[in-house]
């Protein structure tokens, strides 16, 4: 997985591309660190460029959600499609995390 972060007014948008899976755990730490940015209200994870997510990848989204919640930052997962959308829907991640389709 590759990611690119972009600063907006009171938000950070992180765009993920490739495959989000077991081997990306180290990368997650870098994304979690972005939550420490100043005056952050929203944290948008754009997954529209993601081709695949496995259960470990879903776990990473849940970890991000918990970290964001503790810092009072609203986490939004945006634009899942195809296999990624199927996996997110199957696991009902939408009950825990805000998903924007």
């Amino acid at each position: 997985m590759e990611f690119h972060a972009r600063n907006l007014a009171d938000a950070i948008e992180v765009r993920l591309t490739g495959r989000l899976e077991f081997t990306d755990h180290d990368r997650l730490r870098d994304i979690v660190a972005l939550l420490d940015g100043p005056n952050l209200r929203r944290f948008v994870v754009d997954v529209s460029g993601l081709d695949f997510i496995d259960s470990a990848g879903l776990g990473m989204i849940l970890i991000l959600q918990e970290e964001a919640e503790q810092k009072n930052i609203k986490l939004v997962v945006r634009g899942p499609r195809n296999d990624v959308k199927r996996s997110i829907d199957l696991a009902k991640i939408g009950e825990i995390v805000t998903i924007e389709y």
Partner: protein, 386 residues
């Protein structure tokens, strides 16, 4: 890192007595007490056998067999593949030194011997050997422990004898496949006798694989034994497992699951899912994907699960599987996906609705293409009604 050289054994192979004595004196002064001598290559090979040195200090030019040949012969024996061999040579041309390495030497010291350099190189080789041995011992111990743990993990699964017995009682043919991607895995499946007519099947896949995921399968299995919660109602059983797992699992660890109960009198299959792959139901040759969506187990105390119903009359079957089956990649590098799995089941049903070992028939084309070990743990359970 300075280690004690007290118990290190060094063999000096040199045809010159003066050299043997002066090397031995140097080694003794640095704390090495176990020293043996050989006067040529033939003698040296014999001494390696009897003395079992930790390091050989080897002269190059000697009568009968020279040092290079002795080194080559030592290296051809796997037992001596890692034995440190230090050449001592007066030859200082590049190709002569390269010949020492090509023969299998680890390093060389130049003659005339300089005491400081000699001891430093000996020490370096002995320390490397000790580290290598420690690592090898560690690896062997872990491998042995993992092997035991693997056997323990297999013992969590239903035994073939009890599967056959339950098959007789409930009129079912049950076959399964369980393969972990490393010694230990995060998959688990189980059968529950609900009452005289009803039998329950659970398939669970913890996120990730390896030791962490495997420990979670043991945690879950303990919950089966301990709980008196009814397994009649799938949503209720998943709700119980979810809350119990939420108590013990850290964030980021969770499981997908599917649980179903089959009633042999009414043909009713009741089921609930927690994000497991969609099971495949076959009734009268028609295939359907069952809804297995549901919040993953162990994420939220408030997760709600929904029990659904469908008929599974005699002659039909249900196929449960872990997502590794969908994510297995073929020769083209692309995952097989749901369509390929459905197509394979359809093909099997068309050829023979009830082969003797349906799981093997289904898996054959997949396992032919994937490379071992698998990237993820693979479980399949085929439940056929007689």
């Amino acid at each position: 890192m300075a280690i004690s050289l007290d118990d290190c054994r060094v063999l000096i192979v040199d045809d010159n007595e003066f050299n043997r004595k002066s090397l031995s004196l140097l080694l003794t002064r640095s704390g090495i007490r176990n020293i043996a001598f050989a006067t040529d290559g033939v003698d040296g090979l014999a001494k390696v056998e009897t003395f079992r040195p930790d390091l050989v200090l080897l002269d190059v030019a000697m009568p009968r067999m020279d040092g290079l040949e002795m080194c080559r012969q030592l290296r051809s024996d796997p037992r001596n593949a890692e034995l440190p061999i230090l050449f001592q040579t007066a030859l200082d041309r590049d190709e002569e030194q390269v010949a020492c390495f090509n023969a299998g030497g680890n390093d060389f010291i130049s003659k005339p011997i300089r005491p400081g350099e000699c001891i430093a190189r000996v020490r370096h080789q002995l320390e490397r050997r000790k580290l290598f041995r420690d690592l090898t011992a560690f690896r062997e111990r872990v491998q042995k422990e993992l092997l035991h743990a693997h056997a323990m993990q297999i013992s969590l699964l239903p035994e073939s004898r009890s599967i056959a017995k339950l098959g007789e009682i409930y009129g079912l043919d049950i076959t399964s496949h369980f393969e972990t991607s490393s010694e230990l895995g995060g998959d688990l499946w189980s059968i529950f006798e609900v009452d005289a007519d009803r039998i329950g099947f659970l398939i669970v896949d913890f996120a990730g694989h390896g030791i962490t995921a495997a420990i979670n399968t043991f945690r879950l299995h303990t919950l089966f034994e301990r709980s008196s919660v009814s397994r009649k109602d799938p949503a209720e059983w998943l709700t119980y497992l979810n809350v119990a797992l939420k108590e013990v699992l850290p964030t980021g660890q969770f499981a997908t699951a599917f649980y179903c109960v089959l009633d042999k009198q009414t043909n009713l299959l009741t089921y609930a899912g927690a994000g497991a792959p969609n099971p495949i139901l076959c009734v009268d040759g028609e295939l359907t994907l069952l809804d297995s969506s549901g919040l993953l187990l162990g994420i939220s105390h408030h997760a709600k699960y929904r029990t659904q119903h469908v008929l599974l009359p005699p002659g039909g079957f249900l196929l449960l599987y872990s997502d590794a089956l969908l994510e297995c990649r073929g020769v083209d590098g692309a995952p097989f996906g749901q369509e390929a799995v459905l197509a394979q089941v359809r093909k099997m049903v068309a050829a023979d609705r009830r082969p003797a070992d349906p799981v093997s028939v289904l898996l054959e084309p997949f396992l032919e293409q994937v490379s071992r070990p698998l990237r993820d743990d693979l479980t399949l359970i085929w439940i056929g009604r007689r």
